[in-house]
């Protein structure tokens, strides 16, 4: 008995060790930065525009939180829709932002169609409103998808019947019975969306104000600055970002509590419709079309409505290298996704046997911390192992550093479904003489197939979007569509950028096709 107990402790010990080691390294790195000779706090506080940067970041996060929350409350009409959500989620962020700005901003393509008196510029480059709008169009489909997943796990239709049998209208039953549970379940996704809006750099560089920029952009710029003070400024900024993120999480909880206890009980017979459900879809598709058009357009200058020429020549020229990159990116993403999902599954099974202290927190840290901070902290020990080694050694290193990022999303999607799983089904299989993992494979995998696949696809998409690990940990040995896309997007060639963006979109889309395979719904997931 004692032996068994030890065995359990051993598992959760390994889990906590492996999960916290990377972050202890980051903490150590951060402490070094903070404790190094020289007090830079005063100089940092006096940095021009610091207050504006903070207010931009906080304002954007707050706006996103409130609008995303309304979008969640208006989930009802979106329950049935399916296909288009994932297509928008699959769009590469940067290309999506560039596409939207190119369509709608002043001098953009649609702007050119408007008669002069209608031309207005509320949606412009380097403007807070456009930054918030682009983030929303990109993130709300993610929230809706998470909402659909959450609904799949609760017998909400029965709850509505119960509500109606108690004399409430169907709509009021939705507010009273279904929505509170839904909000509780969507707490984490909402936090992630808000934190993402705090920490996003690539979209911010294109769409947000730059004089000064939002805090996250400035943190990255400090990190890349070679001045002696800059690394300290970056460390302070990163800490401030983490604090803002924690504050945002707290706010999410407060808003949720307020909604459940104060708002929902008073709401009557009305349906909340997010006014722009179809607008979101339209914008996503328009941005995608804009990208496709740009990838074959030659010479498209203001005020021309159409380019000088259309041509596939550039596609043809890039095709040999694109094909290789496509295969390599797909292989890396699939490997990272499989390892991440396997790791999360292992942790969840271990948690069944013995609680793993702080599991959720440890797994979700990557979503809270600026990635460059973490990568530079890991670079020390990992660099000793990879330095100048064979390409596969670098491969192992950058795959290892991608896993925390992919695993965070895999956990987010898988954990709620796993928590509701009837584990005794596995026990029954074991009692027939099957080992634990073959029981798992024959029963649990089959019943949790949908969330497992979704977790895998998201883990793959997250891996596919990584740039810094490819450069810093992969040492450039393993280029991907994304690493090339990010490099190209630092230049001025919009056609080449569009070609890579469309290719990346195609790859993401391929992953999502896996989800669209018809699968029988299994009653076990909904208990």
């Amino acid at each position: 008995m004692i032996l068994m107990t030890l065995q359990h402790h051993w598992r959760s010990g390994i889990a906590v060790g492996l999960l916290s080691l990377p972050w202890l390294l980051v903490l150590w790195f951060g402490l070094q930065q903070l404790l190094q000779a020289g007090d830079y706090v005063g100089a940092w506080l006096a940095y021009p525009g610091l207050l504006t940067m903070i207010s931009y970041s906080a304002g954007v996060a707050l706006a996103i939180l409130l609008i995303a929350w309304i979008a969640l409350l208006s989930l009802q009409p979106v329950v049935a829709t399916r296909g288009w959500l994932i297509q928008i989620i699959a769009l590469p962020h940067v290309a999506f932002a560039i596409g939207l700005l190119w369509l709608f901003a002043p001098f953009g393509w649609l702007w050119r169609l408007l008669p002069e008196v209608w031309q207005f510029s509320f949606f412009d480059r380097q403007q807070l409103v456009s930054f918030v709008l682009i983030l929303l169009v990109k993130e709300i489909p993610f929230l809706w998808l998470m909402g659909q997943r959450a609904l799949a796990q609760i017998p909400w239709q029965r709850w509505l019947l119960i509500g109606q049998s108690l004399g409430h209208s169907r709509q009021r039953s939705w507010w009273l019975l279904v929505m509170p549970e839904l909000l509780r379940r969507l707490r984490l996704p909402l936090m992630i969306v808000v934190i993402y809006s705090l920490s996003v750099v690539d979209i911010a560089l294109i769409a947000a104000p730059q004089t000064p920029p939002p805090l996250a952009v400035q943190v990255l710029q400090w990190q890349l600055d070679t001045q002696p003070y800059a690394q300290h400024f970056a460390a302070y900024g990163a800490i401030l970002l983490v604090l803002l993120a924690l504050l945002a999480c707290l706010l999410v909880i407060l808003v949720e509590r307020f909604t459940i206890t104060q708002l929902l009980p008073r709401w009557g017979d009305f349906r909340l419709r997010f006014p722009v459900t179809s607008v979101v879809r339209l914008l996503g598709l328009a941005a995608a079309m804009a990208m496709v058009a740009q990838s074959i357009a030659i010479g498209w200058f203001y005020p021309q409505l159409w380019p000088n020429d259309w041509s596939f020549a550039r596609w043809q020229a890039e095709l040999p290298s694109l094909t290789g990159l496509f295969v390599q990116s797909a292989a890396i993403a699939m490997l990272v996704a499989s390892l991440s999902v396997a790791w999360v599954v292992l942790l969840l099974e271990w948690r069944r046997r013995k609680a793993i202290p702080g599991l959720s927190g440890l797994l979700l840290i990557p979503l809270l911390l600026p990635q460059l901070t973490a990568l530079l902290a890991w670079q020390g020990p990992l660099g000793q192992l990879t330095g100048g080694g064979a390409a596969w050694v670098y491969g192992v290193a950058f795959i290892a550093v991608q896993i925390p990022y992919s695993a965070a999303y895999a956990y987010l999607i898988l954990a709620p479904a796993e928590r509701r799983f009837e584990q005794r089904l596995v026990t029954v299989m074991q009692s027939y003489g099957y080992g634990f993992w073959s029981s798992w494979w024959l029963v649990k995998r089959r019943i949790l197939q949908q969330p497992l696949l979704l977790a895998w696809v998201f883990a793959a998409l997250v891996s596919m979007a990584q740039y810094l690990p490819i450069i810093l940990m992969g040492g450039g040995r393993w280029p991907t569509l994304t690493s090339e896309l990010v490099a190209i997007s630092s230049g001025a060639n919009s056609q080449l950028l569009a070609i890579f963006a469309v290719s990346q979109w195609l790859l993401a889309w391929l992953f999502l096709v896996i989800l669209a395979w018809p699968q029988p719904t299994i009653e076990g997931e909904q208990r």
């Binding site: 032996l3 046997r353 026990t427 027939y432 003489g433």
Partner: protein, 219 residues
Amino acid sequence: MNTAHLRLTEAQLQLPQQSVSLPAITLARGEIIAVMGPSGCGKSSWLRWLLGDQQNHLQVNGQIELAGNDLTTKPIEQRGIGIVWQDFLLFPHLSVAENLQIALPARHRKLSPQAQQQLIVQRLEHVELAALLQQPVATLSGGQRARIALVRALINEPQLLLLDEPFAALDSNLRQRIRDWTFSTLSEAGTSAIIVSHDRNDFPLGCSCLAWPHGVTND
């Protein structure tokens, strides 16, 4: 020479709220023992301990010996103990036939699919349930589920079967019928069993009965 099939030493159950001292229990092959007591006093936890399912909240010291083997530290899959719970837990993603097929004992798993199918059909015909063969389990009634669950547990030929409140989920007319059917099926199969229930009607006539001891509240 010892003829006991199952031998449990005296055992001490440490539950979160209380601790329970169980007497030593022996069971001959084919014998059924009833364990009776109110809900929520550790009976189910004890059964899962017998099954080998490790649980955080429970600590038990005691030894299990079944068919001459010491099982105390063996994992579930090596114990040869089957279980039927009150919610039956048929695999929802499988049909009735597949539920039985997956439970076939290891020595039958290498048979051809046709041979396996034949075994299953025979077993279902024997209990007059062959009509359910290709049904998805979602469409079964409560009584059908109860019977398929027992057939599934027995087709695995366990050395010992645990039944945890096996009739509690059934309505009262059905209950008596399923009860009788279960006891006759069990005795026909010659399987040793432990039935745990809070209802004294749930036990076959003439079986030995153990009243679940009162627990001592932990300080």
